[in-house]
């Protein structure tokens, strides 16, 4: 009795380490669920699925998953980044027999997803936004994310082309690398059409603070800003405020065009369908978990919202030219000489940082032209 449990344990350890022949890697997938059974996929959101923003973008991809044959999706929304998300993951595994879990909020990764992944080596965990590192993180975990700064650059082109005051506004949650990268890309896009354009940034301090976001929007508009964009979980309030005050807006996460039929220029949207499909297919075919997955416009991870009526034909052309270059894969957003807004050179002349450059994942500056401080 003791012997058999022990050897079973050892076998499991070997499986986890992925040692031995290729078939031993299989248990990462749906090995224990027979071919006839459906793959149960659990999806966890940090906010409501209909937030016109971050969570809605994920839910749109999940809606496509639901239509796939052989897949059963279970969802849970408004799960905080505490022990609650650990218990939700465990409940999905124990009560619903999920073998693939999408944990969509950044804060779920460390320690929650990592802890559960160690405890349940036969379940796959796909996390949005994290930085999976070989040797450090378990093999049944993967992180996926998109280079949405490409769309922010395109937003910047549309914004600066439409603005009359040359003052653009950016409402951001926290001064963390992913957010700074978006602000900087927006400014660089704007400066590519109008070298005198500026971006005024306000940090609200958290991901979902609708009251503060509305106050920030009004304050920016009062200061002469006539195009607003943002990086918060739900751009709803900001886009609505801009529309009501008669200025323009660029969206984020999902399309907010419906909220501002007059002033919505374009927006930076996620297209999570692509990574979701890749990860689900790998699980169904029993291939190893995709540990690190990144992509931009070219790979179909992000997309711009269709242009609104306020964007001129000329601006559309400029934007589409850059978009075509991005789709070919030969467009660089961050290239030297690049100076930050304190006068320090952050990328030397003649150098450039491509999309996959790890330097960009730890960005800690606002480029010259952005008004605000970290």
């Amino acid at each position: 009795m003791d012997d058999s449990t022990l050897s079973a344990g050892r076998r499991n350890v070997l499986r986890v380490l992925g040692a031995g022949a290729a078939w031993q890697v299989l248990p990462f997938g749906i090995g224990r669920a027979g071919a006839a059974e459906k793959l149960v996929v659990g999806v966890i959101y940090v906010g409501p699925r209909d937030d016109f923003g971050y969570n809605q973008a994920q839910a749109q991809a999940v809606a496509v998953l639901k239509k796939m044959p052989g897949v059963k999706v279970i969802e849970e929304e408004k799960v905080p980044e505490t022990v609650a998300v650990q218990k939700t993951m465990e409940a999905m595994i124990n009560q619903d027999k999920a073998t693939l879990i999408f944990a969509t909020s950044f804060g779920y990764f460390d320690p929650h997803v990592l802890k559960m992944a160690e405890k349940y080596p036969n379940v796959r965990f796909a996390h949005c936004g994290g930085l999976w590192t070989a040797g450090k993180h378990p093999k049944n975990v993967g992180s996926f994310f998109g280079y949405i700064d490409e769309c922010q650059y395109l937003d910047g082109i549309a914004a600066a082309s439409t603005s009359k005051t040359r003052k653009l506004g950016f409402i951001a949650a926290k001064p963390i690398p992913q957010v700074l990268r978006n602000i900087n890309a927006f400014l660089l896009g704007a400066r590519s059409v109008d070298p005198k354009a500026t971006v005024k940034v306000i940090f609200t301090g958290d991901w979902s603070l609708p009251v503060k976001e509305a106050e920030a929007a009004n304050s920016l508009i009062d200061q002469g800003v006539d195009v607003l964009t943002c990086h918060v979980d739900s751009p709803k309030v900001i886009v609505e405020t801009a529309e009501r005050r008669g200025v323009y807006s660029c969206g984020y996460h999902a399309s907010q065009a419906k909220l501002a039929p007059r002033g919505y220029l374009t927006g930076a949207e996620w297209d999570w369908q692509t990574p979701y499909m890749l990860i689900v297919k790998a699980a169904m075919e029993g291939k190893p978990m995709i540990n690190f997955l990144r992509g931009g416009l070219k790979e179909g991870f992000v997309k711009p919202s269709p242009f609104g009526p306020a964007v001129s034909v000329e601006a559309r052309k400029k934007s589409d030219t850059v978009k075509a270059a991005m789709l070919k894969g030969d467009f660089l957003i961050f290239k030297g000489p690049l100076v930050d807004n304190t006068g320090k050179t952050v990328i030397a002349a003649g150098k450039a940082e491509g999309q996959q450059d790890p330097q960009l994942e730890s960005m800690n500056y606002l480029v010259d032209g952005v008004i605000g401080q970290i």
């Binding site: 659990g42 980044e81 505490t82 022990v83 609650a84 218990k87 409940a91 804060g107 320690p111």
Partner: protein, 344 residues
Amino acid sequence: MNPVWTLFAPLAPFTAAAGAAALLFALFLAAQGFPAVEALGLVVEGAYGSSFAWQNTLSRAAPLMLTALCVALPARAGLVIIGGEGALAVGALAAAMVPSACAGWSGLPVQVLMALAGFVVGGAWVSLSAWLRHARGVNETISSLLLAYIGIAVFNFLVEGVLRDPASLNKPSTPPLADAYLIGSMPGLDVHWGLVWGVVFCIAAWFLVRQTVFGFAVGVVGGNPRAALMAGLPVGSLILASCFLGGGAAGVAGMLEVAAVHGSDNAALLAGYGYAGILVSFAARHNPLGIIACAILVGGIGASGSLLQRRLDLPDAATLVLQGALFVALLAFETLNRKGVRRV
């Protein structure tokens, strides 16, 4: 009176309330076109239907026991304190700073020091409201709530500023605790030791309130502060002490979140346990033993809400409806246990 009835009488209000809440919730679901009977079954299954469900429930309940004490103990002295979240935040801050000062120490002494730091700082934080009330006549409910905002702001300022671990890129956090300082799960269970801390604190609080001279004196202050003064009781000290102990409990909740769940200070730690504790304490009528039961109830609603979402595609808001129905019913049926209801 029939001895069997005497034994079960205290449970009557609770049973009646649970029944009424179930009925209300079922009616609500049926009106929305959801399968009401199945949903009620899932509520029980998700919260208390299996050993996994129990562990799920208890994990969610653990921090609420401590934050509820931050309401219950001051309430004994007649103060309505609703700023437990602030005490939790500053307690977590203090606790996370301990390990860097004790490099090279072994696990247990550091954990004890962390708990002590959380207790003292959390306690001092809520004592501020007591002092403002006693010395300056400031309403303690308002001041504790405002102090909670300040505590949270200080927490975020430090965690995203000087205390930030430069390696924590997109989730600003303090440096992670060494593994030796982390608090793990209880043997054979998937619930961390924080549950035991919560239960022990509640029992100790019950003993203090019901069985000691101090508890009696605090009760007199809560009943009538003028009479307490006339009787020669040190009203100011008693108010301060009860708030210190309550805030200390919330501070320890913060310490446990750091050491048992998150492994560092970061914004995710402030998930509203301090505010949920208000509900738990009021529903338990500020009785420390009742808090244990009510925390398990709220934890159970969280766990079953999770199952309802997954099985029936109900929105998260359905959980709030159930929670609301249950607590209104609890408060309404609580009078069943009294000899007579006094009408004003």
